[in-house]
Assembly symmetry: C3
């Protein structure tokens, strides 16, 4: 039950944010082993000036097309799983959508599995 | 001091997001025992294509009106309190606003009570 | 690698959100000791009705210009550091931009340092 927020600049091609969302979901299936159909995302386009980034940070140079992907998900994935996920997202967005790997920022926020209701007012993952 | 983000599709009736916010606040008063007037919310309407959801997930079928409620709040509520809150929100949005219970996604993000300043540059809940 | 979300009402002067972002970054450099150029922000303007706040909460009175600053950052700052950061942001926004100190809400969400990729599909802060 991850919830994914994807923020993109609005000079990106229309609809590209949906394609990004699809590929992030695919990477979550493969690397994070989320269940099929566990695909809940909020996509937002922003004026370029409203996605603020440095020219570069620790050697990585950003263009005006930084994409920010923030994912709230259950805690418990280990280091290797997270690493594989980051690599998969970057590879996939680059090879399929021609997005620069430098321009992909991923932030994970981990929560307890009791912290979700995905419908009907029930705690589906709780005890 | 929860901070509530509510994301709704923009084909919902105008202003419905405010009514949703009011009812979420009422449920927080009743179930989470937040203090009176502890009501801070960011409401956002999105093009339908920008709230991404599956047709169904684990037996729950979604319509084109999924509402996403993400709440940052202090840690410490137990399982029963969270369950009661989810149930209250779903009951309330359904009975008062005719929203399908299936279309209500709730995500909690728990933080330390030192992690807030709600004005004046002070840490109101800290030691 | 904090990720900062700043939500402001849209009757604020155009571009003021960028100035707020700059000052929040300066306060992060000074008080949180983030590295230079660690400046990643999503700024969003909202219709006034979509930033919901009480008339007052615990003695603090809000105007129609509440600014909400939510920061995802690595865990580990102690109480005094957080206090100094809140004070610095409020002082700075007030003295430089004439924003009421009462109208500044700050929320921190702490995460593990493995929870970031800031480009190239790598886990820059991991082991």
């Amino acid at each position: 039950m991850p919830l994914v927020r994807i923020d993109v600049p609005d000079h990106l091609e229309n609809g590209l944010e949906s394609q990004i969302g699809d590929l992030v979901y695919d990477a979550m299936l493969e690397s994070l082993k989320v269940p099929v159909d566990d695909k809940f995302q909020v996509l937002t386009r922003h004026a370029e000036s409203q996605i603020v980034k440095p020219k570069s940070y620790q050697g990585i140079e950003y263009s005006d097309q930084l994409i920010i992907i923030q994912i709230t998900l259950n805690e418990g994935r280990d280091t290797d799983v997270k690493k594989a996920f980051y690599a998969k997202v970057a590879h996939s967005l680059h090879s399929r959508l021609n997005i620069r790997k430098e321009d992909i920022l991923i932030s994970l926020v981990e929560v307890n599995k009791e912290n979700w209701s995905f419908g009907n007012g029930e705690m589906q993952y709780g005890p």
